[in-house]
């Protein structure tokens, strides 16, 4: 998925050995090859000893399309799929703590209902809700809550899986993409090393 300025985002799902240092190997590879991690979600998988990682990676188009092949070279990566072009369903979870004094609490709760978010903690002046869904849904709730005073937003990053049906889901758009040209991404000019 194009993110403008010649960069592209790809969603990668990987099954990796649950061992110390695995994340360092993967993040080191991303750094070396000039990929930026837009999001990363890790947790135990259905198989004992293996973790599932879902990444959203961005970088120059010509480079990021090789990310799965590069990851597969790592010994601790058991299985890896680039699911960007597949029929996938994805979700993200966010915890949002927002100012909610008595005066505005009703309005905030109403938004919570409309967005089918759950209130999981209530304080005197604030409340915390959880919401899961696609990026646009979460983004728009955050936007609407902004005027009440956002205290904290915590997002998990995308988790994704292939759909069990043939029905195509709706594309959720770019993932937390920064429209300005990210400077941390290596430029692609010439492949020549310039070394002697």
């Amino acid at each position: 998925m194009a993110a403008g300025n010649g960069t592209q985002q790809r969603t990668i799902s990987a099954l990796v050995q649950d061992k110390p240092g695995v994340l360092a190997r993967i993040s080191g590879l991303f750094r070396r090859r000039g990929f930026n991690i837009a999001s990363l979600a890790v947790g135990r998988s259905e198989s004992p000893g293996l973790s599932r990682m879902t990444f959203v990676v961005e970088g120059p188009e010509e480079v990021v399309k090789h990310v799965a092949a590069q990851l597969d070279r790592l010994i601790d990566v058991v299985e890896v799929r680039d699911i960007t072009e597949s029929n996938i369903v994805w979700r993200e979870l966010a915890l949002i703590k927002v100012n909610a004094p008595a005066k505005t609490r009703g309005e905030v709760l109403e938004l919570t209902n409309v967005y089918r978010a759950n209130v999981i903690d209530i304080g005197v002046e604030s409340l915390t809700m959880e919401i899961s869904g696609g990026r646009q849904k979460i983004d728009s709730l955050i936007e609407l809550l902004r005027k009440f005073g956002l205290l904290e937003v915590i997002r998990t990053g995308r988790v994704a899986t292939l759909r069990g049906t043939l029905v195509e889901g709706e594309d959720d758009g770019l993932f937390q993409s920064d429209a300005s040209s990210p400077t941390y991404i290596l430029p692609v000019t010439s492949g020549e090393s310039g070394s002697v």
Partner: protein
């Protein structure tokens, strides 16, 4: 059946089970427990090098020249960090190696203890895989995994870091335990559909060129390469690291292309209608400007590493798998052909662009030295080199007849590789003639290993191409910095003949063309290590040359 042993004993038993008969290394506190059991394992020959970089390059040279996994030992901290250049060199050229390093005791890890260095962290991008082993029980399986990973698939170096108290801990070792590597698949045969597609392109091509890379050497597919080339009469171009995968006195041999390759070779690649790449990664020294690389050809890329496909050059037919297996699949599908017109054209290119004319001079030129070495040794020696002008002259003017007789740091371009790699090659090939073609610069980076050669009676012949310069730097400054020469001249090189004598070696000096043959013959006849100090002319430029990032259109064949 499981045995109860100390960590050190487990390491040695596992090494022996892997067929290791020699290791190169230097002891130190953290690895002393391993050295403490070596006397129990006389079949593990230990060669004491003078620097850990030397141990790593020797293991590399041993590995490249024998096909066996080279092994290096080093202690924690500075011992381990001294290995790093050797690991990077092996990694870039996919050389199978296992390095074993001592680490501080488990309780001290992470405390900045004396001689602690995070070598697994440091070597992560420079190894195919690495391990920090925290229990003696895991040592046996780890050593076997490490060898399996190092030698299979796309080979590479693997490092095992072992805390001092894991060497002394008692643990169980089951030599027959199966490997547990769920994430590691070894490609062998390619998918039939890929092979079909490649065969179709080959059969349809009128102007095919084979580009043989290091993959052919690593998979030892020399006979198969020759069979395919002869069956379909396809000219064979090698990459720098593919040199000696195909006999250079064969009519189909068409040199090596790229930055300092033969002009006819670069032109053949440029004019072909099909490039059949066996195990080369389309490196930037060959490709130059990727957009203008061999524009009119289709490309077949045969490689064991799927991550190499389409990395720099878009290909029409990828074939992923082990090159040797793929030759087997491909051969029956490829039709016999003559390609008469194309081969005549290649002959014409060779005649029009001989490229290797040695400049007329009464003085001694680097090219004269290599040419004489090639003639006197009949192209049958194993050659190792450093990096620089002498390396390119060696590649250009030595006519390699034997398979796998060229050892050079192509990917990393590591100066200093020349001295220890030759030691490793001689250890692995005690009866063969090894000539190390050295730069005076590179030689001085690792010359302490001369003592290792003398100590172990290794009759390596060192040819120092002594131009009193970092010749290749002179050249780049001439080309790209308007001749603003900086830091490329040596004014205090040692007397290399006296140096040889100081090390107890034979030393010979050659300053004239007519002394070449007799000096080389004298060195060959001497049954110990020799240094021949070839005092050669300094030249600013080496030809042919395609400047970095350019294409064959900018090829400079000879000075004007």
């Amino acid at each position: 059946m499981s045995k109860h042993l100390s960590g050190s004993q487990i390491v040695c038993e596992a090494l022996l089970k892997e067929g290791v008969d020699v290791v190169f290394g230097i002891p130190g506190g953290a690895i002393l427990p391993l050295y403490g059991v070596l006397s129990q394992y006389p079949d593990l020959r230990h060669i004491l090098t003078r620097h850990e970089q030397g141990a790593a390059h020797s293991a590399d040279g041993y590995s490249r020249s024998t096909g066996k996994v080279g092994v290096a030992f080093a202690t924690s901290g500075p011992g381990a960090t001294n290995l790093v250049t050797g690991l990077a060199t092996a990694m870039m050229d996919s050389v199978p190696m296992v390095a074993i390093t001592g680490q501080v005791g488990r309780a001290a890890i992470g405390t900045d203890a004396f001689q602690e260095a995070d070598i697994t962290g440091a070597s992560m991008p420079l190894t195919k895989h690495n391990y920090l082993v925290m229990r003696a029980d895991d040592l046996g399986a780890t050593v076997h995994e490490a060898f399996h990973i190092a030698r299979t698939g796309r080979p590479g170096p693997v490092l095992i870091d072992i805390p001092k108290d894991v060497f002394t801990e008692m643990g169980n070792y089951d030599p027959d335990a199966p490997l547990d590597l769920p994430g590691y698949q070894i490609p062998c045969k390619a998918e039939e559909s890929q092979v079909e597609a490649a065969a179709k392109l080959i059969n349809e091509s009128e102007k095919p060129v084979i580009l043989a890379g290091h993959g052919v050497v690593l998979s030892r597919a020399f006979d198969e390469l020759r069979e395919l080339a002869e069956k379909a009469q396809i000219p064979v171009v090698t990459t720098l690291l593919g040199i000696s995968s195909f006999p250079e006195d064969h009519v189909l041999s068409t040199g090596f292309p790229g930055m300092h390759g033969m002009a006819y070779s670069s032109l053949a690649v440029d004019q072909a209608d099909l490039i059949i790449n066996f195990g080369s990664r389309f490196d930037d020294r060959i490709v130059g400007d990727a957009k203008r690389f061999s524009r009119s050809s289709k490309k077949i890329h045969v490689d064991i590493d799927p991550a190499e496909i389409n990395k720099t050059i878009a290909v029409d037919a990828p074939v992923v798998g082990n090159i040797k297996d793929i030759f087997g699949q491909l051969l029956p599908k490829v039709k016999q052909k003559t390609h008469l017109e194309w081969l005549q054209h290649i002959e014409h290119l060779k005649a029009e662009h001989p490229s290797l004319r040695i400049p007329e001079s009464d003085r001694l030129m680097g090219q004269h030295v290599v040419k004489a070495l090639s003639d006197v040794t009949k192209g049958e020696a194993i050659i190792t080199t450093g990096v620089g002008q002498h390396q390119m002259w060696a590649a250009q003017h030595y006519q390699f007849k034997n398979a796998n007789s060229w050892l050079s740091s192509g990917g990393a371009g590591t100066m200093g590789y020349e001295v220890p790699s030759a030691i490793g090659a001689q250890v692995g090939n005690p009866d063969k003639l090894i000539w190390s073609i050295c730069g005076d610069g590179g030689f001085q980076m690792t010359l302490m290993e001369l003592a290792t050669a003398v100590e172990n009676n290794l009759p390596v012949k060192y040819a120092i191409m002594n131009n009193n310069h970092l010749g290749m730097i002179t050249q780049w400054q001439d080309f790209f910095y308007e001749g603003d020469f900086q830091a490329e001249t040596y004014t205090a090189n040692p007397d290399f003949v006296k140096l040889a004598e100081a090390y107890g070696m034979k030393g010979i000096r050659v300053t004239k063309q007519d002394e070449l043959e007799s000096a080389i013959a004298e060195a060959n006849a001497h049954d110990g290590p020799v240094i021949v100090d070839f005092v050669i002319e300094k030249v600013d430029d080496l030809y042919p040359m395609i400047p970095a990032g350019q294409s064959v259109e900018e090829l400079i064949e000879e000075p004007n």
